[in-house]
C-alpha cells in the first residue's frame, strides 16, 4: 500500500519535471539561503572574536592625545614617563601588569637579506599583559632590561623574511645601526583586526630602543592588563583619575590622553555581528517560509489542474486515503529533495564565499539539520491541505472538470 503510493508519487513527479522543479525551487532557495547566511554569520563572528582575542582581551591601551582622528590643533600632549607606568602599577587596583612601549622603525639586515620592520621597545610585562607564547628561546633577562642591551625577540614575519624561516635564536643581525642578538622567536599571531601584520615586529628592551633609536625617554603607549576579577570600566576610571592628576588636568578640561578598552570593543563587535547574523537569518527564514507557500500554491494549482486525474483515480477504485497519501508523499518528496539540493548549494556557497569574506570555512551540522527539518515540515503542512482537498473531491465532479 505504501509502496504503491510511493511508486505513484515518484512517477507523478518524474512525469512533470518542470512543475516539480518549480515547486522545489522555493525550498531550494530558502534552505540554501538560511544555511549559507547562518554559517557565514557564525564564521564571521568567530573570525571577529579570534581577531579580538589576538588583540588581547581585558587590556587597556593608553595613548597621549584625545583619541583617533583628534590630533589637529594645539600643542601635542606630552608622552608618558616611566613614573606613570610605576604609578599605575602601584596605585590602581585590579591591574596585573603595565607594559610601556616605545616604537620606531628600521631596516633589518642579515646575511644579504633586508627587511623593513617595526621596533617595539617594551618590558617583560608585555608578555604578562597579553598571552603571546614564544616558539623558541626566552624572554629578556632583568640585566638585559636594566642595561638596555641589544637583544631582541622577533615576530614570525621577520623570521621568515630575514632567516628564511630557519632557526634565529643565537644569531645576530643588524637593525638600523645596531647589532642585535636574537634571544627568542614569537608564535604566529596573524593579521590584526584593524590592519597591519602583528608578526612583523622586533621586540627589544625599552631602554635599548629609547637610547639607540628614539633618542628620548618618552613612552608613546602603555598596555595595562586588567585582572579578570575586576570590571575593566572601573579600572579604566581609576587610571583616568590617576593620569589626570599626574598630568595636572583641572576639573573642566578634557583628558589629553585616551584609553582604548579591548573588552568593551570585543563586546560591541560581538554584539554587532550577532545582531547582523540574526537579521540576515531572519530574512533567510522568511525566504524559506515563502518557499513553503510556493509549494502550497503549486500543490493547490496542481490539484485544480489535476482534478480530472483525481476523478479518474477515484472512479477506477482508488480510496480517498490513497489519493491523499499520494499527494502528501509527492509534497514531502519534493520538499525533501529541495532541502537536500538546498543544503548542497549552501555548502558550495560557503566554500566559495568564506575565502572571499576572509572568514574560516565552517560546517554547522545543527543549522543544516534544522533547515532540512523545516523543509520536510513545510512539505507535510503545505502538502496536507491541498491533498485533503484532492481526496475530498466527488469523483463525478472531478471527472466532469474541464
Amino acid at each position: 500500500m505504501l509502496g504503491t503510493t510511493i511508486l505513484l508519487a515518484v512517477r507523478s513527479i518524474l512525469r512533470h519535471k518542470l512543475r516539480s522543479f518549480l515547486t522545489t525551487l522555493g525550498i531550494i532557495i530558502g534552505v540554501a539561503a538560511v544555511v549559507t547566511m547562518v554559517t557565514l554569520g557564525k564564521a564571521t563572528t568567530s573570525a571577529v572574536q579570534s581577531q579580538i582575542a589576538a588583540l588581547g582581551t581585558n587590556i587597556l591601551q593608553i595613548r597621549p592625545g584625545q583619541g583617533f582622528g583628534r590630533g589637529g590643533g594645539g600643542p601635542r600632549p606630552p608622552d608618558f614617563e616611566e613614573a606613570d607606568v610605576e604609578a599605575i602599577r602601584e596605585q590602581v587596583a585590579g591591574v596585573t601588569a603595565v607594559a610601556p612601549q616605545a616604537q620606531s622603525a628600521a631596516t633589518a639586515i642579515y646575511n644579504g637579506a633586508n627587511w623593513s620592520t617595526t621596533i617595539n621597545g617594551t618590558t617583560n610585562d608585555y608578555f604578562r599583559v597579553q598571552p603571546w607564547p614564544l616558539t623558541s628561546g626566552r624572554i629578556f633577562q632583568p640585566a638585559e632590561e636594566q642595561a638596555g642591551k641589544a637583544v631582541c625577540i622577533i615576530g614570525n614575519t621577520v623570521r621568515q623574511n630575514l632567516f628564511r624561516g630557519g632557526e634565529a635564536v643565537g644569531h645576530r643581525f643588524r637593525i638600523g645601526n645596531v647589532s642585535c642578538d636574537v634571544v627568542g622567536t614569537l608564535s604566529t599571531r596573524g593579521q590584526a583586526g584593524f590592519g597591519g601584520d602583528q608578526d612583523d615586529v622586533v621586540i627589544m628592551p625599552i631602554k635599548t630602543v629609547q637610547r639607540r633609536f628614539t633618542g628620548s625617554r618618552d613612552i608613546r603607549l602603555m598596555l595595562v592588563g586588567v585582572d579578570a576579577a575586576y570590571e575593566s570600566s572601573t579600572v579604566q576610571a581609576s587610571v583616568t583619575d590617576l593620569l589626570r592628576e599626574r598630568r595636572n588636568i583641572s576639573g573642566g578640561k578634557d583628558d589629553d590622553f585616551n584609553i582604548f578598552d579591548t573588552a568593551q570593543i570585543s563586546a560591541t563587535l560581538t554584539g554587532t555581528t550577532t545582531l547582523l547574523t540574526g537579521i540576515v537569518t531572519a530574512v533567510a527564514a522568511i525566504s524559506l517560509v515563502v518557499g513553503g507557500i510556493g509549494i502550497m500554491n503549486i500543490m493547490l494549482v496542481s490539484v485544480t489542474e489535476r482534478t480530472r486525474e483525481i476523478g479518474i483515480r477515484l472512479a477506477i477504485g482508488a480510496v480517498a486515503r490513497e489519493v491523499l497519501m499520494q499527494f502528501l508523499v509527492e509534497a514531502i518528496a519534493l520538499s525533501c529533495l529541495g532541502g537536500i539540493v538546498g543544503l548542497v548549494i549552501a555548502q558550495l556557497a560557503v566554500l566559495v564565499l568564506a575565502p572571499v569574506m576572509q572568514v574560516p570555512y565552517l560546517f554547522e551540522p545543527q543549522i543544516n539539520l534544522i533547515a532540512f527539518a523545516i523543509a520536510a515540515l513545510i512539505g507535510v503542512v503545505f502538502g496536507y491541505f491541498p491533498a485533503r482537498r484532492a481526496a475530498a473531491l466527488n469523483p463525478i465532479d472531478a471527472l466532469r472538470h474541464e
Binding site: 500500500m1 504503491t4 511508486l7 505513484l8 512517477r11 512525469r15 512533470h16 480530472r308 486525474e309 476523478g311 479518474i312 483515480r313 477515484l314 472512479a315 477506477i316 477504485g317 482508488a318 480510496v319 480517498a320 486515503r321 490513497e322 466527488n394 469523483p395 463525478i396 471527472l399
Partner: protein, 241 residues
C-alpha cells in the same frame, strides 16, 4: 426485466435523486425500478436532463440515491460509505468515458496497470494482465505509447483495456463513441459487443445515437426522471425505431 430470465445483478427499487435544497431543489430521478441481468448489453437513451447520467452515476457507485434501494451483487449500495463504494468499483466495475480520461504522459501499459496497482497486485502479474487486456483491444503493439501519441479510437481502446483489466462484472460506458467519427464508433461498439459475448461482462452504455444503441440487447429510454420504455432487440444490429 431480465430478458433471458437470469438473476439480475443490478436491482433498483423506487430510486429517487434530489439535487440542491429549498427553492433550487431539483428532482433528477422520480422513482426508478430497474433490473439488469448479468451478461446483458444495455443501452441507456434519453434527452439531456432525463436522468440517465444520474442513474449511471448511481449504478457506477459514484453517487448514492436520495431514496429507494440499489442492490448490486447482494450489497445494498445506498447504505455504503465512500470508501466501501470505492472498493466495489475497484473489484467489480470498469469505466469508459466519452473523453477517454487516460492519464497524460503515461504509457498505455501504465494506464491499464493503474487499477491493478490500487488493487495491490504484484508487478509481474500486473504487467501480464495489462498486456493481455491490451491484446484484447488489439493494442499490445502500442503499449509504450502515451495518449498524445495515440488516435482517439486507440485512446478509447486503451480506456476499455483499463476498464476490463480487473475482469469486472459490469462495464459502464458513458457515451463511449461521443468523441469519435462513425467508422471508429462502429469499431468501438464491435469491441464492446465482442467483450460482452465472449467474457460475459455486463455492459451498460449511455448513448445519444440510435445506431450505437442498436448494438445493445436491451435499450432503456429515460424521460423526465423516469424510465419511459424498455425495448429488447432480439437480433443485434437491427435498428430500434
Amino acid at each position: 426485466m431480465a430478458s433471458d430470465g437470469a438473476a439480475p445483478i443490478i436491482r433498483l427499487r423506487n430510486v429517487t435523486k434530489v439535487y440542491g435544497e429549498g427553492a433550487t431543489q431539483f428532482q433528477a430521478l422520480k422513482g426508478i425500478d430497474l433490473d439488469i441481468a448479468a451478461g446483458d448489453f444495455v443501452a441507456v437513451m434519453g434527452p439531456s436532463g432525463s436522468g440517465k447520467s444520474t442513474t449511471m452515476n448511481i449504478l457506477g457507485c459514484l453517487d448514492v440515491p436520495s431514496g429507494g434501494t440499489f442492490e448490486f451483487r447482494g450489497h445494498h449500495v445506498e447504505t455504503l460509505g465512500r470508501d466501501e463504494r470505492a472498493l466495489l468499483r475497484r473489484r467489480y466495475l470498469g469505466f469508459v468515458f466519452q473523453g477517454f480520461n487516460l492519464l497524460a504522459r503515461t504509457s498505455a501499459l501504465e494506464n491499464v496497470e493503474l487499477p491493478l496497482l490500487y488493487r495491490g497486485d504484484a508487478k509481474a502479474e500486473r504487467r501480464e494482465a495489462a498486456m493481455a487486456a491490451l491484446a484484447k483491444v488489439g493494442l499490445d503493439q502500442w503499449w509504450d505509447h502515451t495518449p498524445a501519441e495515440l488516435s482517439g479510437g486507440q485512446q478509447q481502446r486503451v480506456a476499455i483495456a483499463r476498464a476490463i483489466v480487473t475482469q469486472p462484472d459490469v462495464l459502464l460506458a458513458d457515451e463511449p463513441t461521443g468523441n469519435l467519427d462513425s467508422e471508429r464508433s462502429v469499431e468501438i461498439m464491435k469491441l464492446l459487443s465482442d467483450l460482452n459475448a465472449q467474457s460475459g461482462i455486463t455492459v451498460l452504455m449511455v448513448t445519444h445515437e440510435p445506431d450505437m444503441a442498436a448494438f445493445a440487447r436491451t435499450v432503456i429510454h429515460f424521460k423526465d426522471g423516469l424510465v419511459e420504455r424498455v425495448d429488447h432487440n432480439h437480433r443485434q444490429g437491427e435498428t430500434v425505431d
